[in-house]
């Protein structure tokens, strides 16, 4: 019940904030379209980062093909909205346009996520039994193969790109899904299933020895993670209303990895932080263009040398909030080794 109340409150808050930012609520209150776009891209990045962290940070698997699943979500949802958009809208033709659009968005996102999740299953089942480095390579390869296939499918524009999707996504929807992603991943991680994933990360052989079906757990988290990336892709497509295969290269996958590493693998708060930081830095330093990337990559190397656990390491925000309360309790008695 508490969760339901919180969810409704969140939706209401988002609604208000979204209205304020876009100027649709109060005429004189709004932010520049550029700024709004940055915020929206940040929101999409949050979904990507948090979902990737589920498999990389919490389950400890090296996946660097996230962009591929994002691409699947983006292209599938776009194809659907372009081809069947009117028909889907027609189903609720009696409702106001906003509701029609919402339904369309949810429908295409759902199918996009399903396809991305299915791809995650197909990729995950054979690959997740490979050792760390090899899994990284395979996921990288799959990501590239998906991209090459998309380039060669004319029905989705191929190398020319794909346009014509309705602009169904906006600040409200993006951040609603971002909040949803954070909530779902937080729930997963805090559950017994989440404990299983972390155990796999810590020591897969020991986890297996303690009765965990490690393959099943890894595949499941991979599928969930991929499906979420698919949602991000769908939102991306219906926000920018133009897609090009070059948006989904392994560079994109690397960017998401950088986000979660900066924030701290194994920390959901960290992923959110990393996503926001990353887009802030790249946009904020955009004017410096080439220098920006040079400085950025150098900083990344330095970060790995100096503080590989990122900003938050394994900790979440609540650890900092909780620490103040726990300071009043006596420390556990020291036991001689």
């Amino acid at each position: 019940m508490k969760a339901l109340v919180r969810a409704v409150a969140l939706v209401a808050v988002l609604f208000v904030v979204s209205g304020l930012l876009t100027g649709s609520l109060i005429e004189s209150v709004s932010i520049s379209p550029y700024f709004l776009q940055v915020l929206c891209l940040a929101g999409i990045n949050i979904i990507l980062a948090v979902s990737l962290n589920l498999i990389n940070g919490f389950t400890g698997q090296f996946s660097i093909g996230h962009a591929g699943f994002m691409a699947i979500g983006a292209y599938v949802s776009s194809f659907l909205s372009i081809t069947f958009g009117d028909r889907i809208r027609g189903v609720v033709s009696f409702a106001p346009e906003a509701v029609q659009n919402s339904l369309l968005l949810l429908a295409v996102l759902a199918v996009g996520a399903l396809c991305a999740g299915a791809a995650g299953f197909l990729v995950g089942v054979p690959s997740l039994r490979l050792r760390g480095d090899y899994l990284a390579i395979v996921t990288l390869g799959f990501g590239e193969i998906i991209r090459v296939f998309i380039v060669n499918i004319d029905a989705v524009g191929g190398a020319r790109g794909l346009g014509g999707m309705p602009k169904l996504a906006n600040f409200f929807w993006i951040y609603l899904f971002a909040a949803g992603t954070v909530a779902v991943v937080t729930r997963i991680v805090g559950s017994s299933f989440g404990r299983t994933l972390i155990a796999i990360r810590e020591d897969e052989i020991a986890a297996e020895a303690m009765g965990v079906n490690t393959t099943r757990a890894k595949v499941l988290s991979f599928v969930v993670s991929s499906a979420m990336a698919g949602v991000a892709g769908g939102l991306f497509a219906h926000y920018l209303i133009y897609l090009h295969p070059n948006s989904f290269t392994f560079i994109r996958s690397f960017e998401i990895i950088i986000m979660i590493v900066i924030g701290g693998l194994g920390s959901i708060t960290g992923s959110v932080l990393g996503a926001v930081l990353y887009i802030t830095l790249t946009e904020g330093l955009r004017q410096f263009a080439q220098y920006r990337m040079v400085a950025f990559s150098l900083l990344l190397v330095i970060l790995m040398i100096v503080r590989p656990q990122g900003i938050l390491g394994h900790r979440e925000l609540r650890h900092f909030l909780g620490k103040r309360r726990r300071a009043s309790e006596p420390p556990p008695p020291a036991v001689a080794a």
Binding site: N56, F62, P126, S127, L130, R131, G132, D133, Y134, A136, I137, V138, G141, F142, E144, I145, V148, F149, V151, N152, I205, F254, I257, I258, V261, L265, Q290, Y291, M293, V294, F296, S297, L298, L300, V301, M304, I305, P308
Partner: protein
């Protein structure tokens, strides 16, 4: 039949390039268990080094000696770059978690690519012709002088490398380090020095590949390392990452398959071939063709 032989020759030529680059990947993985993502970019730097060096030679006639000097110069330059990268980027994180190493390598790669775009300019440059050109017709198969050079130089370098690894003390030390770094250290081997030499060798070979490609396909650009680097990496994995003859085998196989597919099927899936092979290998025989299956000790 002649088409087949022609494709075969083309494939061997391309494959030799992949093999030279793949050797660097495989040797570094052998000693450090690190996938050196920046290796492809070192290959690119080799091509650029060759470019600038050959411009220095401008005015003199294109000659074999000149070409050789350019190549050697590029190799030395990249060897130093390789040592530099290892010393300042990889050594500090040598003992860290695998993912940290991976990210560091990605960072170095991005750094080199973007710095190159700044320094050299993002537009492609054209390699001047270094050696005298000639075409040979053998049994209906056309062999360009560039292809001949590529194959000849590659073979010579690989033979030299093999000799080095098998017959010299340093080579033996390299093999020891690749088996067990800590044990090698305990045996009195200066592992830092061996690792530096490994990087130097791998980078030098990549530089040679860069110059050879420059001679063959005169267009070079700061991002050329991505495509070739990735495919060479697939080649190394195909042959068995960490296995030196495997890298050569893998390179030739990838090069040949790529040319065959483009020649007989279509060119649209040219880039996907390498990845397709990669995935098949990793799913069916992850240790590669010549690699040994590694069991984790419990």
């Amino acid at each position: 039949m002649t088409t087949f032989l022609q494709q075969l020759v083309n494939g061997l030529s391309l494959g030799s390039i992949y093999a030279l680059i793949a050797l660097g990947y495989t040797m570094v993985y052998g000693v450090l268990r690190l996938i050196n993502f920046a290796h492809g970019d070192v290959y690119m730097l080799g091509a650029y080094a060759g470019y600038y060096l050959s411009r220095k030679l401008k005015g003199s006639e294109p000659s074999l000696v000149g070409a050789l000097l350019v190549m050697l110069g590029a190799m030395v330059f990249c060897a130093i770059i390789g040592i530099f990268i290892e010393r300042f980027a990889y050594r500090p994180v040598r003992r860290a978690a695998r993912l940290t190493l991976l990210i560091t390598a990605i960072g170095v790669s991005l750094f080199i690519e973007n710095a190159a775009q700044l320094v050299f300019g993002p537009d492609p440059k054209f390699f001047p012709s270094l050696a005298p050109r000639a075409d040979f017709l053998v049994a209906g198969v056309r062999l360009t002088s560039e292809q001949l050079t590529v194959i000849a130089v590659s073979v010579i370098l690989m033979i030299l490398l093999r000799f080095f690894i098998l017959k010299t003390r340093t080579g033996k030390a390299m093999r020891a380090v690749s088996f067990n770094l800590d044990a090698a250290k305990l045996m009195g081997i200066s592992t830092d020095r061996i690792i530096a030499i490994t990087f130097a060798l791998g980078s030098a070979l990549a530089a040679a590949a860069g110059v050879l490609i420059g001679m063959q396909i005169p267009k070079i650009d700061p991002l050329m390392g991505i495509n070739y680097g990735l495919k060479a990496f697939v080649a190394a994995v195909l042959g068995g990452i960490g296995n030196v003859p495997g890298a050569v085998l893998g390179g030739l196989l990838i090069g040949t398959s790529e040319v065959m597919v483009v020649g007989y099927l279509s060119s649209t899936y040219r880039d996907a071939i390498a990845f397709g092979i990669l995935i098949l290998v990793l799913l069916l025989r992850p240790q590669g063709i010549l690699g040994r299956a590694q069991k984790e000790k419990v």
